[in-house]
Symmetry: C2
Amino acid sequence: MRFLHTADWHIGKKLHGYDLLEEQTDAFKQILMIAKKEKVEAIVVAGDLYDRSVPSVEAIEVFNRMIVEMNLQEKFPVLAISGNHDSSTRLETGGPWFIQSDFHLNTRLDQAFQPVELANTQFFLLPYFEPISARLYFDNEEIRTIEQAMKEVIAAMEKQFKPNMAHVLVSHFFVAGSEKSDSETKLMVGGLDTVPLSLLESFDYVALGHLHGKNALQAENARYSGSPLKFSLSEMNQKKGVWIVDTQVNETTFEFQEIAPLRDVLQIEGSFKELTTPEIYEAINRENYLHIQLTDRAVIPNMMNQLRQIYPRVIGVERLFGREEQQKSNQAKKEIKTLAPTELVDQFFSEVTGEELTAQQHVWIKENLADIHQAERGK
Amino acid sequence: MRFLHTADWHIGKKLHGYDLLEEQTDAFKQILMIAKKEKVEAIVVAGDLYDRSVPSVEAIEVFNRMIVEMNLQEKFPVLAISGNHDSSTRLETGGPWFIQSDFHLNTRLDQAFQPVELANTQFFLLPYFEPISARLYFDNEEIRTIEQAMKEVIAAMEKQFKPNMAHVLVSHFFVAGSEKSDSETKLMVGGLDTVPLSLLESFDYVALGHLHGKNALQAENARYSGSPLKFSLSEMNQKKGVWIVDTQVNETTFEFQEIAPLRDVLQIEGSFKELTTPEIYEAINRENYLHIQLTDRAVIPNMMNQLRQIYPRVIGVERLFGREEQQKSNQAKKEIKTLAPTELVDQFFSEVTGEELTAQQHVWIKENLADIHQAERGK
């Protein structure tokens, strides 16, 4: 059978303070289009549906619309699990009703051992879990790490394998040797959360969630789908998308299908003057989330505000060759002591605004300073 | 047809810090038993399913189990609305799937105008809403109060009335002239949230939620079910339960069925000595939530702790005839200045514990005070 593998939607996630719900909705629409075009028989979502255990009302609205569209309107069977970012209990609400329309949303370890059978394939939907859950489920005090737990989990799954079917594991953890990006939350310190690839050998395909790059793991039978969007600058050069997987007994193939971002996460480079020159910035897609690398070394007054007026989604500014700040500020300190109050205001104003005070403003300042001076004396 | 009317479950509510999930689960089981015994064809829940817009994980677990049992296991059609304590969006998740098994959970105003038809009855499920929602829905800028909104809402519902059917409104608001308890949250100041009874005349029955006493409103065609549990001392003398309603075209009858609380909310009276005497307290059901009225006037050292050791669920202590405190504490202040350090510790200990220090404890205190004294001098 043919299915689509996605993960790490992180609905409600923000990028440097910017709300991504519009981008997330757009990526979801593309996922649905790919699913229809490729005539998949199921959509697999391998965890981290939400970005937070208590999502905002806005995130819930967006997510609710997505699952209605995917499962009730477009009638796709959905095979999903909770990830480390989801609250399993909060996500569980509605689960027993979802099954009626082939929307399987597993949030508890015990659910992983009842495979969902679709066409020629058994799907084992293993939600993110902590070793304590496995310790209790298997009644085995020795289980302390995810690796130990996974040995038991997989042995229990293998007992359910039907030999004439393909076997797919859907799960959400860190597989040893995978490459990380900046936007994933570390599950645990010290590698206790790591699962060796060798444990996963008996599956025809392992649909992984957790890491945000599709190339994080290169294995014969396992892939991270990656997130549908770039969630950090470190993912700048990643292609985002989904895997289309074809399972046959003893032969499974998969192919990547790209998603074009509504707004990309990119880096641009230039001097402040260049980047604020219309002929130059009009050639740039300024709707994107941009990390700006400035070649200038000089202090630029009110820089961020000026850049944001041209580039509405600046996620960071970097000085490629450092900044003259240190030296300047020492000079400034010396000068300050020798400056008259009106001169100080003059200098402060032009540093902050990049403009000079008008004659009228000078008059106001003088008057105000005189008032303050008199008030001080009167004390 | 016959249905059961309940409301104001407030799952997750605490009573003076005590978790009520066990009591709430017990009351729910009784509701189900009544529903089965009375062979009702539907269960109506008129809002405030949860106590908070963001319920705890524990509250969600309890609620999820309840709806699974009521609808999927016992197969009761469920007709529910969100109340002012619920977050309509958070409660909405799963709603479109619930309908497949006749679990209708309305959280938005627009859903109220598609009645649910069961047997001979049209149910209009009107969730709690703010006037702004009606202003937008009816595109009528004049709507400023719930009363104005309700005029439009009911007119729109009446257009859907089928003459050969009974008409039931399920809603969650304050009907003019109803009596309040202490445990309801005021919806609005100044009576803007009040709906006159006359507006509800065209319905055969109005299943109300919001007020916690079943006798809050005595109308021919409308009742509050009240909460299944007592949520405050002011409800001490209320009978809690559900209404069993029989609708026939042009004749609707209803009867109250009581729920026995797992632990009651009661008041007891006596002197401290009486209430801490085994012969007396062993005759009291000390598992209940108790408000204690003391007849003593004397200061009682460590009173609350002593009472809690006997009565594990004290929700308040009241001095029926006042307390000698004021006078005593002035005396104490004067004495303190004249007391030696060891005497001060003596007095403090017996005030807090109600016991005297032992000889050994006196020795330890003297030694320690001497050490402190020496250390101070050495500085």
